[in-house]
Symmetry: C2
């Protein structure tokens, strides 16, 4: 494909987006804030586009919405319209959508309302819940470009398995969201629909690769979203945008119909999971609605382990990982960890420090296993359209070896991976630790194009720990997060540490950014990790302490 051709193809992708925008809800250009305005979180109210009722609806959790719909005090149609309006505004400000599904969503919401009116019952546990969906999760008869210009014309023959199950549970899909070229940035930028911004500060990235979802959650364009994660791609956007994100253990959530260039690659398994704008509960609502339908009966690579309801217990040992031993976290992150640490102790939880186990070796293994082919497939994907590689695509490909591994070399790495997984679990058991709280990233949301260091999240992909990101409730603070003399004296351990530490010259660069935290636990203990996240969040944010 010639240069002209790839631009022509990219334009087709933009046309799909632009044609899908419900124009009646667009804020006139002269009412939009100037591009220099960083924080746009207040715009839904300030713009006057949404009524009070719509503002209230869009600030509710999925769980809350379903409860109201079950009482008949909310209709699915008004719910999806409210979120559509907020999404259109969000898109004008953040460029987070790849396609709106307004007509289908409203039609489906009306069906749900009819059903409720006829029967007095909800269709399922997600009745009327608007869900935004990362673009590479395929919809029947719609294009699915997965961030590649080469795939702009690809049409998906049927809905992804996960979408089928969510739809049966009553979900309404109203907007598809942006992702980076190659799906391998902790940022969100491609040659088709461009770059997505962070609603808390538009000079920052919403994270990636589920960056459109991060923005969607941060701006409350949906109570629930769907992301995918092979190195942090659910958790990083959740953390950067002040939302919730859940990376389940592999082989639990249905993956069929999610498009990736390297279909069949299993050196490192990607997973799909929920993001939520305002409640951890919604991550469980989502997971339970999916697993209660026993997806393993249709998708045989899944393990038949039903979702179980777990009551959180205070009789646990929680470890705090202050630093991964490779890259020192920035001051705001450390401040949030201190808050968690102190509040957990004050609440009587057994808290210990987590000494990281060979995270550098872990990164060596996982970064080698991302591209055992030396990135040839990704480069061919770009070559086949002629689109140029984005800087962070080059960055990710640079992790790979210069030459493809032989199969026996790859097997040896896979074996090292399996041994590492067993060792990490064994050490956790030996130390008597149930859950590990860690930074999701060295800092808060990165400046656009600067999100380079993955291993605060990727390490948990490697050992396949279910992991949850939740907001600490704190934001970057211009007074508290100043770069002090002691910080200036810090001598980085290595080049990478120096690069990452150098990005924090003070809180001003990250003004407005929320501070997220991550909690992880042993493989297949998804329910326990989510319950523990709820316990910790409750204690840290002071909301639920008394109840437990």
């Amino acid at each position: 494909m010639s240069l002209q051709n790839w631009e022509h193809q990219a334009q087709k992708g933009r046309d799909i987006l632009n044609n899908s925008i419900p124009k009646q809800w667009l804020l006139p250009a002269d009412k939009l804030p100037p591009p220099t305005q960083k924080n746009v979180i207040a715009l839904p109210r300030q713009s006057g586009l949404l009524s009070e009722r719509e503002l209230t609806i869009t600030e509710m959790s999925a769980t809350g919405l379903v409860a109201q719909m079950g009482k008949g005090s909310l209709k699915a149609e008004e719910v999806v319209v409210a979120f559509l309006k907020r999404s259109v505004l969000g898109h004008q400000l953040l460029n987070f959508a790849t396609e709106f599904l307004a007509d289908e969503a409203i039609a489906r919401a009306k069906e749900l309302d009819d059903y409720y009116q006829r029967t007095g019952k909800l269709v399922g546990p997600l009745h009327g819940v608007p869900i935004s969906v990362k673009e590479h999760i395929g919809f029947k008869n719609k294009t699915c470009n997965t961030g590649y210009v080469a795939w702009v014309d690809n049409v998906t023959p049927e809905d992804a398995h996960l979408l089928q199950l969510l739809a049966k549970a009553g979900a309404v899909f109203h907007v598809r969201t942006n992702q980076p070229q190659s799906l391998m940035h902790l940022c969100c930028s491609n040659n088709i629909t461009g770059t997505t911004l962070n609603p808390h500060n538009r000079t920052l990235t919403p994270g990636g690769s589920s960056g459109g979802e991060g923005a969607s959650m941060g701006f409350k364009c949906a109570p629930l979203g769907i992301g995918t994660d092979i190195g942090g791609s659910i958790r990083c956007p959740a953390a950067f945008c002040g939302a919730y994100g859940f990376r389940p253990t592999t082989m639990r959530m249905p993956m069929a119909g999610i498009q990736v260039a390297s279909l069949g690659q299993e050196t490192i398994h990607g997973v799909v999971g929920p993001l939520a704008s305002s409640s951890l509960e919604d991550c469980e609502l989502f997971s339970k609605a999916v697993l209660n339908q026993e997806p393993w009966n249709n998708e045989r690579s899944l393990v038949p382990i039903p979702w179980k309801t777990v009551t959180p217990t205070r009789d646990v040992t929680i470890a705090i990982m202050w630093d991964d031993g490779c890259v020192r976290p920035h001051p705001p992150i450390t401040r949030a960890l201190r808050l968690v640490h102190d509040r957990l102790i004050a609440a009587g939880i057994n808290v210990v420090d987590w000494e990281p186990y060979k995270h550098d070796e872990g990164w060596n293994i996982i970064s080698t296993l991302y591209y055992p082919d030396a990135g040839t497939l990704q480069r061919e994907m770009l070559l086949s359209s002629g689109e140029p590689a984005r800087p962070l695509t080059e960055w990710a490909l640079a992790y790979s070896r210069p030459e493809p591994l032989t199969h026996p070399e790859a097997w040896a790495y896979q074996h090292r991976r399996d041994v590492f997984i067993d060792e990490y679990h064994a050490i956790m058991k030996r130390r008597g630790v149930d859950f590990i709280i860690s930074p999701p990233y060295p800092g808060v949301a990165a400046v656009l194009g600067e999100s380079h260091y993955w291993n605060y999240t990727a390490i948990w992909n490697l050992v396949d720990f279910p992991s949850v990101v939740f907001p600490s409730g704190l934001m970057v603070d211009l007074e508290l997060d100043v770069f002090e003399d002691g910080d200036k004296m810090y001598v980085p351990r290595n080049e990478v540490d120096g690069r990452e530490w150098g990005k924090y010259t003070g809180p001003e660069r990250f003004e407005g950014a929320p501070i997220g935290l991550q909690i992880s636990g042993a493989r297949f203990r998804d329910e326990e990790v989510l319950a523990a996240a709820g316990l910790v969040e409750g204690i840290v944010r002071g909301g639920r302490v008394a109840k437990l």
Copy 2:
């Protein structure tokens, strides 16, 4: 390594074996039957080596032995001595052992007896059960050659995880058993300890790759054995030797400490599982004893699905696969399938025919994925000692592509594999079939060196169906299994079919061989498949019909 050196190394392997044989129980050479005597099944009695009580003990199931030991009417020591004596004789006749563990086994049995005497209790569900173990399952501080001369000096640092669990449950390991070079023959021949023979007819193979286990079970050298299976290596020896074999779903049974050249290879997962000499119940006893110890807490690649007890039900639909559409089974196999078919119908079971789903495509996928490296690793294993490739090693390597697949090519095959797995399950569900009975091989035990066609077992590895082999109760019959005029007229579908069909010129070649059958069911329905195998065996062999 020079030619001389590999022979020197191979001799070291033979020395380990020869030094380990408990000489006091050897039958003098002049009392052994002539090498031309094919069937040696009667030798334990004829030889006079074993007492009546020892003969009785060695013909009991593990379940029966444990029950007697629980009552105090049998001691672990006499049990293991009886099986050791039978094993020594078996080895003289069949060359099935790679190392005897007589001293350790007797010492352990004495400990168990002491424990019982002190407490009146059994150590665990496998208290005092002698188990033979395929050589590549590593024992602490013992060599583990995995069939390669290059590894004759390899010493294992600790017991394989599975052995640790079985030992905790009370098992006693008394003999390690032979395997073919490369582990990829349905036969049992290597350059270290040579070729293992079938006790029912010594011109036939006991099957492979767990061929030593096949001979061990067929000659009743142990009530239980441990094999591994990536294409039929548990089931083929069980079928060829008139025993039971259970290939579980992948990721249930602990694999850590089982040595293979391609550690970390996961294009096709191998599994470990039990063989049993006289009872299907013993396969469940084994599986339950292992999974009740929750091995997933130490080996994190396993899925945390406990063993559940299933009551077999007659309310099932069982399909008979008469032919895989690629290679026509030999007359004895078809006769056994007819018997099963008629008896199941007579017993009121819903029986249908199974039309195989693209088994040729299945073979294309699995045979490509065995050696995505074009067999380079296997060839390097041979080159590193200088040992020559055995004919069936060359045969297996010939399945591979001439050049290694690129990683993206391998991923594409892996994706085809996953799609095939889903399709196979979907078709089974659509047809309303619960279990499929099929031949384990086109014929009964193959003539030594002739076991070429794997896909009656490998297809179930590909789709990851748990599968059980059990004896039909029939043997090759010189009158019933004659090659009739109709058979002579058969026009093979293709070259492979012609080759396999040509091997059956009449029953004489296979005199004495038992006829085994295979039953398979959906992934992760291990318990149901074992229960169904029990139901079918009971009906076919007339033993348990009335009870159900």
